[in-house]
Subunit: 507 residues, 2 copies
């Protein structure tokens, strides 16, 4: 690949995160935002390579767990939605019958869907008889086909995934990777013979998310979303949220347990070994380019990106020094580059006719983990000088540099992980609690500070949650996977509970 043509300046300080983030995605050449539709960025080669490497992590997990890659059509005819509407109606009826009181919220979801998609209404000059929408996700097209594929218990479990472009008619402010209108999306959909199969799948999903987050060096909060924030048709929804440096949380992965709720709507049944017909149980697991947004936002600094080694398009850049003075320099550079390439590292040799300082500056912006200089003085000692993107320099022998590089990258990943954990921990405050105002209203004890996530014990009802959200202006992420070790008084009701929850401003 060709390096950046010239050093680019004008990176805002990262302390001003809301200025830094939108600037760095363009300065580091991940995307170009000048395409004439807002929220539809052009992926530049460096950004696309990072994203492809993140996709590679997802594919690795999918292969390990026996999911197979499919690709479903982008366009969905409107009439396929009837099944989905049927599902929503059924749930409504069930809830009206006393199972759950959130009728109104379901209504919002139902009409909300049509508000959030792009509609294809014309083919050529013809109005289409049945309008089609661009998939926001693929439940409808997939489950239509699954109903044809699943016949007997021998067809189960069916474990599928796809990595595709999805669309959302976004009316809020768009942000590269975080809130876009064409979304690079990963979705896995599974079908099981029974609830236990789907339960186990949810466990597997949680495990895969953690494995990917480990490689991305990102800590996350894992929560079970409140009922009203559960995906329509899901029994429950779990999500991983990354706390970004400005204290807002970014939902980067969700997994939904559908039980047999969708199966009813799509006639997804199978013949069991005893000849009986049974409904299938299903799950969905979704991630997107937001993972790259979290990587950019969490790890970067005032000098640019810092790419975790697992997804750095270039892990090691080699810079010859004074190569015109000593012809052995380029020989050594190419020998090292070949050796590292063969060992499986992603390496780039920067032969541009620029001062070393300018090169360092460029590769710092791009967040390359290791920058290696080789000049005549280094050759004299058969060594090279390595600058580590998270800080520090080491003079290391050329002999066996493979192993040194591997260790440096591993250690850099650990540093990123612990730095990110420190940042995230520092952004989580304990909720200050309520005092009773006049006429029994609840008032937050201390002013809510913008830029923090608040942790609290919460065991209240939906209306208690509404009080919590309204009085703080924050959103309930849901019940944490990590309960309090000791019973703690619920912030609203005061009753003792170990249910740890978080409220935050969500992206």
């Amino acid at each position: 690949m060709s390096g950046p043509k010239k050093a680019k300046r004008g990176i805002p300080n990262k302390s001003d995160f809301n200025a830094w983030y939108p600037a760095i995605v363009e300065i580091a050449d991940l995307v170009d935002k000048r395409y004439p539709i807002k929220g539809m960025d052009v992926w530049k080669p460096y950004g696309l390579k990072s994203m492809n490497l993140i996709d590679g992590l997802a594919r690795r997990e999918m292969a390990r767990t026996g999911h197979e890659e499919h690709r479903f059509p982008l366009l969905v005819p409107e009439d396929l939605l009837e099944k989905e509407n049927r599902l929503v109606s059924r749930l409504k009826a069930a809830r009206a019958a006393g199972v759950d009181p959130n009728e109104l919220r379901i209504d919002e979801e139902e009409s909300g869907f049509k508000k959030e998609v792009y509609w294809v209404t014309k083919g050529g000059e013809n109005e289409l008889e049945i309008p089609m929408f661009l998939r926001p996700t693929s439940e409808t097209p997939m489950y239509t086909m699954f109903a044809l594929w699943v016949r007997s218990h021998a067809d189960l479990p069916l474990k599928t995934f796809q990595i595709v472009n999805t669309f959302r008619y976004e009316t809020k402010q768009t942000r590269s990777f975080i809130r876009v209108r064409e979304i690079h999306f990963f979705e896995a959909h599974t079908v099981h013979a029974n609830k236990e199969g789907a339960d186990a799948q949810i466990e597997e999903d949680a495990d895969m998310v953690q494995s990917i987050m480990h490689d991305l060096c990102l800590p996350s909060l894992v929560s079970k979303r409140p009922v009203w924030d559960t995906f329509p048709g899901a029994w429950y929804t779990k999500a991983a949220d990354v706390i970004m440096p400005n204290g807002r949380t970014l939902q980067v992965a969700t997994y939904h347990h559908y039980k047999d709720q969708w199966a009813g709507a799509f006639d997804l049944t199978y013949e069991d070994s005893d000849g009986s017909t049974k409904p299938c149980h299903q799950t969905t697991f979704g991630m997107s380019e937001r993972l790259l947004g979290a990587v950019v936002g969490m790890h970067g600094d005032d000098n640019g990106l810092i790419m975790p080694p697992a997804v750095a398009p270039i892990q090691i850049v080699i810079m010859p020094i004074a190569q015109h003075v000593d012809p052995n320099v380029m020989k050594a550079v190419h020998a090292l580059s070949d050796e590292l390439n063969t060992a499986g590292f992603r390496v780039h040799v920067d032969e541009r006719d620029l001062r070393p300082g300018a090169k360092h500056f460029d590769w710092e912006i791009k967040g390359v983990p290791l920058r290696v200089e080789i000049g005549p003085r280094d050759l004299a000692s058969s060594s090279c000088l390595v600058s580590i993107r998270t800080g520090g320099k080491e003079q290391l022998p050329l002999d066996g540099f493979n192993n040194s590089a591997r260790k440096l990258l591993d250690s850099m990943a650990s540093t990123l992980r612990s730095n990110a954990q420190t940042i995230a921990d520092g952004l989580v405050h304990t909720f200050p609690g309520f005092v009773k105002g006049d006429d029994d209203t609840l008032i937050v004890n201390e002013p809510i500070v913008d830029g923090f996530v608040y942790e609290l014990a919460f065991d209240g009802s939906d209306s208690d949650a509404e009080i919590l959200e309204k009085s703080t202006g924050l959103t309930l992420l849901g019940e944490s996977d990590t309960p309090f070790p000791e019973p703690t008084p619920c912030a609203v009701t005061g009753k003792l509970t170990t249910r740890r929850q978080h409220i935050a401003r969500m992206y």
Copy 2:
């Protein structure tokens, strides 16, 4: 991956190609055509794997030639077309001024474009102010951005590509891979400082196409398309066509030399080293899932697919025989599988509890190049029995089987290449020539036989070509890259020429 659940029967004879092709794509589990929009198939894992391997060949060529992968938005606002229309108007004006007489054909192209795209007219419940279309190809979105990216001669050449979904509102009969409405598409777009740069790019494109066709074991006709079949805005268009077994030609790759014609419309200029502003020269190179259609159609037989080793999702399937009788069988099977995997082969072990005959039957349908059986008798002689998909069996030593497998796959690829060449050659007939009818009309000397491509010397004008096409009902592919060695009389005008051309029924 899991194998097919049971042997599927009902493959039509390949001699009835028009029945065989649409059947085999589903029987071999490449796609499912039951999605409720015609021409939008669901890619099943086996089909998607083949396609990904074909994409891998394209990416290999792109990396070798210094093209970088980008990704541009799918949606194009209608007003961006103004530039394209300006281009077409300019060309029209130029041609009206005597440069070229094909004004009418250009008009058709202009209005044809809008007839062939899907239009997004609504976002949620709002009519969009400016309708957007789903890209059929990406000239308009790309060149809008290129005009921002290219400033000086140092930015050139700009060599880009993307692999994306494109769309075409297809009104003709759809066929999997061959004529679909959502198209898995490869497109490379380059920008050069001058015509010579673009000339060299066209040579490089031709070379890349041949390299890919070699791996796919497909012979092709390379032709310069007639003016009226040239891509709008192109100076000239070259194409590679595969002659399918039914004698119809399938255009699988095109490359276009734009000179500086698009640059004018998109203000694509650069500052040269002398400070002057110059227009850029451009080329485009396109391929699609049709490559997979050609592979399926050309190589398959009455028993199913035959996958060229370079793009076979499974190159070698290993089948244990009587493994319940002798525990050493599975040990040997896994040892061989591990060894072949490590050596870079794509291997699958078929442990299903089925008769060997049923397994052979399944893997023949899927076109797996080599099927290896290992049973107690084979172990006694430390060997295995290999069935080759193009015919023949060999008993080979397990020791050093790596090398044997490599040789067998290479030899099988050669067989496929020569079989395909023989098929294609047999489908090309010499054009029988014309006789003068009453009132000087031309009548083809012998009846044109459906299912053949005709070769002829042709050096006539556009109206001569029209006579040729009308009187034969076939389409002129254009001037072959391989001229006649000796001057030969033009089929229409009778004047001597070495220009070899082909007429055919095109897909």
